[in-house]
Symmetry: C2
Subunit: 344 residues, 2 copies
């Protein structure tokens, strides 16, 4: 099953491509009126994410409507705590809320190691539907949260500006934190392998809260678990995106992964210098740049492409799309990449 | 009027000191039960900040209770928009809310340039009371927000994870943003000079939301205005703390200021290398480190001191104290600095 458009896979592997591939974090989501219609029909975010037919439908929307070079399965990083026995609710304004949180070793012992095939079969079912519908047109990206980011929610119980409860555990009970991280890591490996078995063509690990850790803590509590996942996943290319972890770029270059995501705070040329030539870089336009006029978006996008230098680059934003972005502005970004990144 | 303890002033100027001076961002605040009692009496945060006798009382508390080497005037960075004609309310859970926001040139034109002596005389009055009570024991720090951070609130209308409305203005109406930033800058210079005239011995500029900007935007919309303030204030040492602006460290080294604040994401030795030897560095323990045991806090603090190398360093946290920190843990941090930073 040869993909008709395998630009992202080839770019990830460091092969020359005719042009730079492009997709957007949160491309399947609130920016699209077509998504909002399905979300309405589903009744709730969690219902949407756990109903394979609906999750598949919104996964496919940006491929058809925006013309991106990959689909990314519509899901949530917090399905892992859910599968481990820590369910969450999604409140419209507050975000995820966990009625139970992890406070001690007994709580960790009570957690299950998630079985990707059975506990998360609503995701693998959605992947199979998407793969069938895509009909080998573009690759499908599977994903999971990095263990530290998942742990942060499981200990904090909700989103937070500081995640001070979760970080407190790193200082006061490092062994407890490590035992929790280990269990999350095993669950995540199972989960990603299940996604790959169902058809995911590459996977991305999101360390969304990397930026709250000090360099030392990142090296102790986050990077080793990301590394374990990268070592365990051997059949598809892997992307690691650690938002805010500018200080870890040098160490991330040693990960057994193909692609490193950059946020918009990270200078492109500096990042290339720090990371070296052996990784593909993904990113990194500021999502707010898409609030500009078409001319401004074109200018910013071309400037980004030039800095990445048309090689080992997967064009994306430096963070997920903001919900009030206009679809036509997103198309302008995508079309500019397609038009201005031709090689030769 | 020679200060009995002028360690911070001498450290800022690069002179050798017997030991490293120490204070903590948000040392006057919710961590102290004594503060909470005065806050209760005042009835509201804004009432407390605008009543000189009460603001002076909570300013003095950490000097007496914790034994820090400086007082910092109890106030809020948002008094500047208030003085410019954009009042705010403080909601207990949500933080600051601006009923009116800045949307166009007419809104900017309607703003006043704050006169530090008259519009903000509740702050200068509080400073005079504090200086009198301190009786030249330790220096008093005055402060203001950096113009970009202030602008972010005036356009967004509240705190935000992304400040996407404020950033949208940078992309869509850069000239409008610059005219607003210019007016804030003039107001801030007036305000800081009024604080200095009233007795502030050094000043700090807080760019709390620096970290949401790309390196290019930071160089266009934030740093030039901080630089203007630094050039305009000539009589006391200046500290610039731009949280999250790791990418700007090299350029910040060129500011006409004595001290650069580091957050806990910024590697100490790397920051010294980037910034060079001509600035004092302030920081940068993770506020969450104070959740640890006394032994852990001591260990982390000594490790921090060693990395700074006992020279041109003002010990502090890498961000403000979190409200649930125990006062005895704060004392442990302070006493460790005092004990372990003796030179020679």
């Amino acid at each position: 099953m040869q993909l008709k458009n395998d630009l992202i896979l080839r770019a990830a592997r460091g092969e020359k491509t005719e042009r730079i591939p492009v997709w957007l974090m949160r491309q399947a989501g609130r920016v699209l009126p077509e998504y909002r219609a399905v979300r309405e029909k589903a009744g709730s975010f969690i219902k949407l994410a756990t109903t394979p037919e609906l999750a598949a439908e919104v996964t496919l929307q940006p491929v058809n409507i925006l013309g991106v070079d990959a689909a990314i399965i519509f899901s949530d990083i917090l399905v892992i705590p859910e599968a481990m026995g820590l369910p969450y609710e999604m409140e419209e304004k507050r975000g995820p809320i966990f009625p139970k949180i992890i406070q001690n070793q007994k709580d960790v012992d009570n957690l299950l190691i998630a079985n990707g095939e059975t506990d998360l079969n609503y995701v693998t079912k959605a992947i199979k539907i998407v793969k069938n519908e895509l009909n080998d047109s573009v690759p499908l990206i599977g994903f999971a949260g990095a263990p530290f980011t998942i742990m942060a929610y499981m200990v904090e119980g909700s989103g937070s500006k500081t995640f001070s409860k979760a970080k407190k555990m790193l200082y006061t009970e490092p062994l407890l934190a490590h035992s929790l991280l280990e269990k999350i890591t095993q669950s995540t490996i199972n989960y990603l392998n299940a996604q790959i078995n169902a058809g995911a063509d590459l996977i991305q690990i999101f360390d969304s809260w990397a930026g709250i850790l000090s360099p030392e803590q990142y090296n102790e509590f986050s990077l080793p678990y990301i590394s374990k996942i990268c070592e365990a996943i051997t059949t598809v290319p892997k992307t690691v995106f650690a938002k805010g972890a500018f200080f870890a770029r040098k160490d991330m270059a040693k990960l057994n992964c193909e692609t490193i995501g950059l946020d918009w705070n990270m200078g492109i040329e500096e990042s290339r210098r720090i990371i070296g030539e052996n990784k593909t870089l993904q990113g990194n336009l500021d999502p707010c740049a898409l609030y500009g006029t078409y001319d401004q978006i074109k200018k910013e996008t071309i400037s980004m492409l030039k800095q990445f230098g048309n090689h080992r680059h997967i064009a994306n934003l430096g963070h997920g799309l903001y919900p009030d972005t206009q679809p036509d502005k997103i198309k302008c970004f995508i079309e500019t990449v397609k038009e201005y990144s031709h090689i030769g």
